[in-house]
Symmetry: C4
Subunit: 205 residues, 4 copies
């Protein structure tokens, strides 16, 4: 692997260990990616099957716009959805974790989770007031083209997240740090929404 | 920045990392301040936009009594409320975090959270018995003058905390350590109040 | 202070930091003690007012059987109850923390929390089957003689714990390690009991 | 002890400390094992009575197919069930912890916990769709032959876990790492199942 891929792999490993310590990448679940080049689209994605708390800078794979490894290695099956998200949204980094609150929220509101009038929305890139934010929910599946199509149908440039029912959450941003901040804020918002056990639009001030 | 500002910045960074590790400053949320001088009022406030687990001693800004930066740098928008609280209460340090329990409590009791007959009230600076403590709740907003006015209307010298609905909590004290202890005790009390799902006055012994 | 007192102080500081990291000694709450001598009864108790995550070996005070400091220093007000428990039970160490589950359980079952047919009871020093364990609950108060009398009325040699309503939990054992293990198991049992939201005797198999 | 036993003991100690830090081995609860040889069957099991966060490589005991120590030392009483599981399933490692979610799930669904249509099932070794997974639940007891018989009656080669009601969970795999990943995924699944408070088959999409 080239130096840049290894540098990115190191960032992905560090970030994965951080999420693993938070309990958001239990087992070998979840995967993170960074865009390596735009034309042609290439992403560096965490390798499949490893403990996400113990990755090294070498546990990363370069994939193309379909999520296919371009230089060997075994990417996660979900690399295809990472690539689709990066392509459609223009994001520089995509994170996918299995935090519990997003999956509980998707179960509670299968047609989309509506959030508004909450300060934490600013950390997600939206407004704290009078801005109705709907986090799209798609059904789970193993065919990344099907999931990607469902993602694209619900995509809005101002909503950098996707819930996959009975599975987990994708969040993206310019880089891993922006994606982290948006994910952390979204997870907080979804804990709030499920803890108050009502659609927050109905209960909003 | 002067040496004292950098010393304060180091304390703010250490304290921020502590709260971030507790999950109370997710994303870039929350901000901490210490009073630098009283006349004129000057506060050192954490800079805006950084990951609160990764601040350095240089990620701090000196603001005036309106929360306006006096020597460049970008303070949090909420610096104005920090300054107002320090001015009205005489506190030496103000902490503002996005722990979940305070926001859930504010949602449950929008007219104020009543606490009494709980030992942890001593750690908040009040009595463990026969002392009705009402934590004021104000509506959220982006105009710190409006929030400051609402704070001041509900201010009582013996109640060093403010809940901002659908947003977070402010707690203050003589220094960062006293503010921390009061915040930790208040957060515990609000978890107790929401977990017992009833206004604790009604349920008190 | 003598060498032995400092050695005990070091153990109390280490153990306090452990509980503080678990969130069971928020603010400056809780206190730990070890028996220094039996005749006359002397205990080493954590000093009052400090952050329980930041104690040193010097933050400890020697108290007599009434919890009064014998060589200066400021013990916690609760030292008197530590001494009473050590005297009545013969324990070598007493730990008092403000974990949430014990306080929620005391609120739910103010006449005592009944536990039985749970494996974790073995770690509390009781049997896993057909052994009805009642954790006594006493009302809160600031007069340690009153609390000590209430404790003594409910004391049973086979039940090394006491819940103080709207306050916290005391657990004791031969040494700090045994007290820790009993406390950790009891806290688990009380989380189970409150999570299943029923008195576990009624729901037992 | 031979070098291999000490090497295994070191792995068991490291893994135990990891689970203890997660709160899944409170007090001295739980135990881990690795198969040392198949013919005759010998396992290395964590020694009984120690704090699971503080084991060393010497805190391990070699037991036979009945869980009896073959070279002195005091194994956990549960070593017999470890041996039975390793014998019947062919697993190379067995982990037994007292996480709360499995015990709550066993209480809620005493005839077995049914899981399906959840992505995390892949991390447990099953399919994410249209694969009905039933985690068997057996009653608690102190006679490992009785528990072993109950385990064997419900055993299926494709379901590497066992819930013991009012007690804890056993999970196994080829090695400690596979067992860990399966345990972490199962614990997530059981938190999801109990949080949604319904049998997930009924509520599945």
């Amino acid at each position: 692997m080239g130096d840049e891929v290894i540098e990115i792999g190191a960032r992905l490993a560090t970030e994965s260990a951080r999420y693993a310590a938070m309990g958001w990448m239990r087992g070998t679940s979840g995967n993170l990616s960074e865009v390596l080049s735009r034309d042609p689209l290439r992403l560096v994605v965490t390798a499949s099957g490893g403990d996400k708390g113990e990755l090294t800078e070498h546990d990363a794979v370069v994939v193309d716009e379909h999520g296919i490894a371009v230089d060997g290695g075994k990417p996660s099956a979900e690399a295809g959805l990472h690539a689709r998200i990066a392509s459609v949204s223009g994001a520089g980094a995509v994170v996918h974790v299995h935090a519990l609150a997003p999956v509980l929220a998707a179960e509670r509101w299968p047609d989309g989770v509506v959030l508004r009038d909450l300060e934490m929305l600013k950390g997600f890139g939206r407004a704290a007031h009078d801005d109705v934010v709907t986090i799209p929910v798609i059904g789970n599946g193993q065919d990344m083209t099907v999931l990607g199509d469902a993602f694209e149908r619900g995509f809005r440039a101002d909503t950098p997240a996707l819930l996959v029912a009975r599975h987990g959450v994708y969040v993206w941003g310019e880089d891993l740090l922006e994606a982290r901040h948006r994910l952390e804020c979204l997870e907080w918002l979804l804990r709030f929404a499920t803890a108050t056990s009502m659609n927050v639009v109905e209960g909003s001030a």
